[in-house]
């Protein structure tokens, strides 16, 4: 199974649509332990991304992802702008000049994205951030691939792990991001960034299912 540039574009279009649907929900999660803007921020960013897509439709996957990354950096703001922006930029660097990706290329791109977030955010697992959704997903994806699962099966396992990861943020004490200011009071709330990451993981699964 090969992933083409059009699939990447479909994926981002789907994310943009889902973000718009979930905008208020994400913002509401951010009200509880943040500043009530996460959904609004992402919606502003992905809406702009949509308007940029036509200009890169015929480009290689790396260029498309880099354009998405710089657009997110330039329009989202807040913490999630540089983080998701860096993630797409790094994924773009890992896929430079490629018009097609195999399953393992995708895994490598996702690993690069995660690493980018960790470096930019100076953060690691267990701090109640998007990393707690993305890292278990990438782990599960790699493990499933290593045990011979096809991409769709592996991706399903990754989304399941991602869901678990999001749930696991609820009892966590935040030590990074805005929720960390709350100390103990951050406990008991689901992290908005982890939730938006799950939204993207589900969108990716949907696209991959569509290809096969």
């Amino acid at each position: 199974m090969q992933i083409q540039a059009e699939h990447v574009i479909k994926f981002v279009e789907l994310v943009a649509a889902r973000v718009k649907e979930q905008r208020d929900f994400l913002t509401q999660l951010d009200s509880a332990i943040g500043d009530a803007d996460h959904g609004v921020n992402l919606d502003r960013g992905f809406t702009t991304v949509l308007s940029k897509l036509p200009s890169v439709a015929d480009k290689d996957i790396g260029s498309i992802l880099k354009t998405i990354g710089t657009t997110l950096v330039s329009t989202v703001g807040g913490a999630s702008g540089p983080l998701y922006g860096t993630a797409f930029l790094r994924a773009g660097m890992a896929t430079a000049d490629r018009f097609e990706l195999g399953p393992d290329d995708l895994v490598a791109a996702l690993e690069a994205a995660l690493e980018g977030i960790q470096t930019r955010g100076k953060s690691t697992r267990g701090e109640k951030t998007m990393i707690d959704a993305i890292a278990p997903a990438v782990d599960a994806l790699k493990a499933a691939r290593a045990s011979g699962d096809d991409l769709v099966t592996a991706m399903r396992k990754a989304v399941a792990a991602c869901e678990e990861g999001v749930k696991a943020t609820i009892p966590m004490l935040a030590t990074k991001g805005r929720a960390s200011y709350l100390g103990e009071r951050s406990i008991g709330h689901q992290d908005p960034g982890a939730t938006s990451s799950l939204l993207m993981a589900r969108a990716m699964l949907e696209i991959v299912e569509g290809i096969s």
Binding site: S31, D35, V76, G77, G78, A79, P82, T175
Partner: protein
């Protein structure tokens, strides 16, 4: 949601247009990317001092652009850090050959966006230094967390570092002074009511009629504790106590005392709170050498206040007293 606005997504741009016209003698507003810049920028041979952050904290930062304070300010969406494009463009616009200082409040988003902008500016050959304010004692600090928020000290630092830059100090010196203000400053705030982010349309948190939030941030983030309403005297103790212990401030110290309104607090209450702070400090043998009372770093229409104390020495006092002419702070010219 009761606000004097049109569409939520246009609030920042429309307010910027108002500022641009109201203060055309002092500032220019650039759109897309949005930034406010001194009318005479770039000032050749002067260190540029810029800041930025989410909107909704007015007059911070745009109201502090002008002679003797900031060279530029980058307003983000309401409560959302601006993006690197803004900071990069502002950095270029104020670069007068002696480098540019970025004044960054310690929020993950602000720090990361300014970092990216600084990397890009450096790649263009502009020397950039950064100072990160983190004066909010309501947040428990540790090496392993995001650390404390930057709040009230930011305003005082922008004035003092701005004066140093205006007087011709080089980048290292302006940075040293800025870091001193931050090191010697501590803040804490409280809220009587929540605020409503225009886009969200409803209050960020619900606060019952008989409760208040202590240790609140400036973005409607919930605070350290929620407690029953208390008298001004009690609230002043709750804010001043942790501030005084933290540095610690000591008998014999002289301070710059800043009583700040959160946006929806009338001035009569701020003067009343200043009176409480004055009484507390007097009791501890601490002298208020300089003071600022008013709503300068706000959280939309939130009702509440914050205290900030900065330990003064001759250098900081002299720089505080230096002339300043911006939309929101003005003296000596």
């Amino acid at each position: 949601m009761k606000k004097l606005i049109n569409a939520p997504e246009n609030v920042v741009k429309e307010a910027l247009a108002g500022m641009a016209d109201a203060h055309s003698d002092l500032i220019r507003v650039h759109y897309d990317p949005d930034y406010i810049v001194r009318a005479d920028a770039p000032v050749q041979g002067k260190v540029g001092v810029i800041s930025g952050g989410g909107s909704g904290h007015e007059p911070m930062h745009g109201g502090f652009v002008g002679k003797g304070m900031l060279d530029a300010a980058c307003p983000g969406a309401v409560f959302t850090s601006p993006v690197p494009d803004q900071m990069l463009a502002a950095t270029r616009a104020v670069s007068g050959g002696k480098g540019v200082l970025h004044v960054v409040k310690n929020y993950t988003g602000d720090v990361m966006n300014f970092e990216m902008a600084a990397e890009l500016a450096a790649a263009e050959g502009i020397e950039v230094a950064s100072v990160v304010t983190n004066d909010d004692v309501a947040v428990k600090d540790s090496l392993y967390t995001a650390g404390r928020r930057g709040v009230g000290v930011t305003v005082l630092l922008e004035k003092i570092a701005g004066a140093a830059a205006e007087a011709g100090a080089d980048l290292a010196e302006v940075k040293r002074i800025a870091e001193k203000v931050n090191a010697q400053g501590r803040s804490m705030g409280m809220a009587l009511t929540s605020c409503t982010v225009p886009h969200a349309g409803k209050p960020t948190f619900e606060l019952p009629d008989d409760e208040m939030e202590i240790g609140i941030g400036i973005h409607g983030e919930p605070g350290r504790t929620r407690t029953k309403l208390a008298s001004a005297t009690e609230i002043a103790e709750m804010l001043a106590g942790p501030i005084l212990e933290d540095l610690p401030f000591q008998s014999g110290d002289t301070v710059l005392a800043f009583v700040n309104g959160m946006g929806g607090t009338p001035l009569i209450e701020l003067y009343l709170m200043y009176n409480e702070l004055h009484r507390i400090l007097k009791g501890k043998g601490i002298t208020i050498g300089r003071r600022l009372v008013g709503s300068y770093i706000t959280s939309l229409e939130m009702a509440g206040c914050s205290f900030t104390l900065v330990k003064l020495d001759d250098e900081l006092t002299r720089l505080w007293d230096a002339p300043v002419h911006t939309p929101a702070l003005r003296w000596g010219m």
